[in-house]
C-alpha cells in the first residue's frame, strides 16, 4: 500500500513538473512570438499626431506622415515643423532579435495585465543603446513597455498600446516616451576631502530636459508597396533600431 502511494505521488509530481516546464516560455520564444505578429508587415504609412511636454520647450501639436519600410527605413514628412523621438517611434522585432540577446527577467502585472519582462543586451558593441528592458504582453504578443539608457544621464521609458489593423497586424496605436534625467551617482567621490562638488558639474552644465512626448498613430495603410525613393530624401529620414 505504501509503495503504491509513493508511486502515485511520484507520477503526479512528474506530471505537474512536465506541465510547468512546458508552460514556462524562454526569452527567445517570446521574441519570436512578437516577431511573428509583425512579420507580415512589409511597410506602412500612418498619420502621426504628437504632443510634446518638455521642460522649457513649447511646441504646438505636431502632425506628420510616417513612412516605414522593413527592415529599418523611416521617413517623415510634414508641412510644418515636427519634433519626433529618435528611439521607439517604430520597433521592428526582427531587428531587435537580430541585434540583441534576450534574457527572461521575470513577470510583472501592469494595469491588471501580466507582462513578461525581458532584458536585451546588444550582441555587438557598436549597437546603441547597448541594453533594453522590454515588457511583452502575451495576450497579443506586442511590446507594451520599454526602458533604456540611450546615453549617460538619460533614462528613457516608453509605453505602447496597439491596435489590430486589417484584421491581422498589431501595430502601435499610441506611444508615450518619457525622458528622465538619471540621478547622479552619489557613491562616486572625486576627492577624499569633504568639500562641495565642482560647480562645473552641478551648476554650469546645462541640465538635460525632462518631459514626455505622446504620439498617436492614425490612418494606417499597411503593405502599400512604398518605393525606396521615398526614403532617399535625408531630411526627416532616419533608421529605426
Amino acid at each position: 500500500m505504501r509503495l503504491w502511494r509513493t508511486a502515485v505521488g511520484f507520477v503526479l509530481v512528474l506530471a505537474v513538473s512536465v506541465q510547468c516546464a512546458a508552460q514556462v516560455l524562454k526569452a527567445p520564444d517570446i521574441m519570436k512570438n512578437v516577431e511573428r505578429g509583425f512579420e507580415k508587415v512589409q511597410d506602412f504609412v500612418a498619420t502621426i499626431e504628437a504632443n510634446v511636454d518638455m521642460e522649457r520647450v513649447r511646441i504646438p501639436k505636431i502632425t506628420a506622415t510616417m513612412y516605414f519600410k522593413k527592415p529599418d527605413k523611416v521617413h517623415f514628412s510634414s508641412s510644418s515643423f515636427a519634433m519626433l523621438p529618435r528611439e521607439g517611434i517604430v520597433l521592428n522585432p526582427s531587428l531587435l532579435r537580430e541585434r540583441y540577446e534576450a534574457k527572461m527577467s521575470g513577470e510583472e502585472v501592469v494595469d491588471g495585465r501580466k507582462l513578461y519582462r525581458l532584458a536585451l543586451t546588444a550582441k555587438e558593441a557598436k549597437v546603441r543603446p547597448s541594453q533594453l528592458l522590454l515588457w511583452i504582453d502575451p495576450s497579443v504578443w506586442t511590446i507594451a513597455r520599454m526602458e533604456t539608457v540611450p546615453y549617460q544621464g538619460r533614462v528613457l521609458r516608453f509605453s505602447f498600446t496597439h491596435t489590430l489593423q486589417a484584421g491581422s497586424f498589431w501595430l502601435p496605436e499610441t506611444m508615450k516616451a518619457t525622458y528622465d534625467v538619471a540621478a547622479a551617482d552619489s557613491s562616486v567621490k572625486r576627492l577624499d576631502l569633504d568639500m562641495p562638488a565642482s560647480p562645473q558639474l552641478d551648476e554650469i552644465r546645462r541640465p538635460t530636459r525632462s518631459g514626455s512626448i505622446t504620439v498617436k498613430y492614425l490612418d494606417y495603410k499597411v503593405n502599400v508597396g512604398i518605393s525606396d525613393d521615398v526614403f532617399e530624401k535625408r531630411d526627416g529620414a532616419s533608421k529605426t533600431k
Binding site: 521642460e55 520647450v57 510634414s78 510644418s80
Partner: protein, 278 residues
C-alpha cells in the same frame, strides 16, 4: 498745421543726414541676412543640440521668419542710435544753421512750430522702423523661405507659421512706439543745445546706462528698473510670447507713452522760453 508739417518734412528729407540711417540699414540688413543664409543656421543647430540627442526634426526652423526675428534685435542699440541722428537735429539743427530767428519771426506761434517738428520726428521714426521691417522681413523671406518660427528666449518656443505674420506686424508697430520714446528724448536734448552732436551723444549715453541697469541682473538695480523706460523697450518682444502677455504689453505702452509725453512737454516748455540769440 499740415502745411507746417509738410515744410518740416521737406526740410528733414532734404538733409543728407536723414538718409544715413536708411543707408546703413540698406547695407547692413542684406549683408547680415546673406551671411546667415551662407552660414546655414549653424548657430541655431548649436542651440538645439541638446534636444537633437533625443529627437530629430522634420522641417526647417532656419527660415526667413527666424532671421527676420533675429534682425529685430537691432532695435536695442542700432536703430535707436540712427533715430537720434534725425530727432536730435530737429531743434538743434535750426540753431546750428542759424535759422531759428528766421522761422520764429513768421506769424506762427512757437508752439505750432514745435508741434510740427515733433510730428516730423514721429513720421520719420515710423517710416524708418517701417523701412527696417519691410527690408529685413521681406529679404529674409525671399532668401530663406517661410516656416514655423522658433524663439529661443527662456527655452524653446515654436510658433506655427500661420500665427507669425501678425506678430511681426504688431511687433514692429510696438517697436515704433518704443523708438518714439527714444526720439522724444533726443528731441528734448535737442531743445537744450545748439549743436545736434550733443543730443545724439546724450541720448545714446542715457540709453546705454539704462540698458545696462535693465539687463545686468544685480539685486541693487531691481528696485530702480521699473522706473526706467528701457525696462519697457522690449515690448515688441512680448508679442512673440505664447500666450501673449497683453497686460504687460498694455503697461509697457502706457509707461513708454508717459515718458514720451513728459519728454515732449519738457522740451516744449524749454523751447517756449528759449532765448533765441542766433
Amino acid at each position: 498745421m499740415l502745411r507746417l508739417v509738410y515744410y518740416e518734412l521737406i526740410k528733414t528729407f532734404l538733409k543728407k543726414r536723414t538718409y544715413i540711417g536708411f543707408l546703413l540699414v540698406a547695407v547692413v540688413v542684406p549683408l547680415v541676412e546673406i551671411a546667415m543664409r551662407i552660414e546655414g543656421g549653424r548657430f541655431l543647430q548649436f542651440s538645439l543640440r541638446s534636444l537633437q540627442q533625443d529627437f530629430f526634426f522634420v522641417g526647417n526652423l532656419f527660415n526667413g521668419w527666424f532671421v527676420a526675428y533675429s534682425m529685430m534685435n537691432s532695435l536695442w542699440i542700432h536703430i535707436p542710435l540712427l533715430i537720434t541722428f534725425v530727432a536730435g537735429d530737429q531743434l538743434a539743427g535750426e540753431a546750428t544753421a542759424g535759422t531759428y530767428r528766421l522761422i520764429l519771426v513768421r506769424p506762427v506761434s512757437r508752439t505750432r512750430i514745435f508741434i510740427s517738428k515733433f510730428y516730423t520726428t514721429i513720421i520719420y521714426t515710423v517710416i524708418f522702423v517701417g523701412f527696417l521691417a519691410i527690408l529685413s522681413t521681406g529679404l529674409a523671406l525671399l532668401l530663406l523661405g517661410r516656416g514655423d518660427l522658433i524663439i529661443l528666449t527662456r527655452g524653446i518656443l515654436i510658433l506655427p507659421e500661420a500665427d507669425v505674420a501678425w506678430r511681426f506686424l504688431l511687433g514692429y508697430v510696438l517697436a515704433a512706439w518704443a523708438m518714439l520714446t527714444i526720439a522724444s528724448l533726443a528731441f528734448l536734448f535737442s531743445s537744450f543745445v545748439e549743436n545736434a552732436i550733443g543730443p545724439i551723444i546724450g541720448t545714446m549715453g542715457v540709453n546705454m546706462i539704462f540698458l545696462l541697469v535693465t539687463v545686468i541682473p544685480l539685486e541693487l538695480f531691481q528696485d530702480v528698473k521699473p522706473y526706467l523706460y528701457y525696462n519697457y523697450m522690449n515690448v515688441w518682444q512680448k508679442v512673440f510670447e505664447d500666450p501673449v502677455p497683453w497686460q504687460t504689453i498694455g503697461d509697457s505702452i502706457a509707461v513708454l507713452g508717459a515718458y514720451t509725453l513728459v519728454f515732449v512737454v519738457v522740451a516744449w516748455a524749454i523751447f517756449r522760453r528759449k532765448d533765441i540769440l542766433t
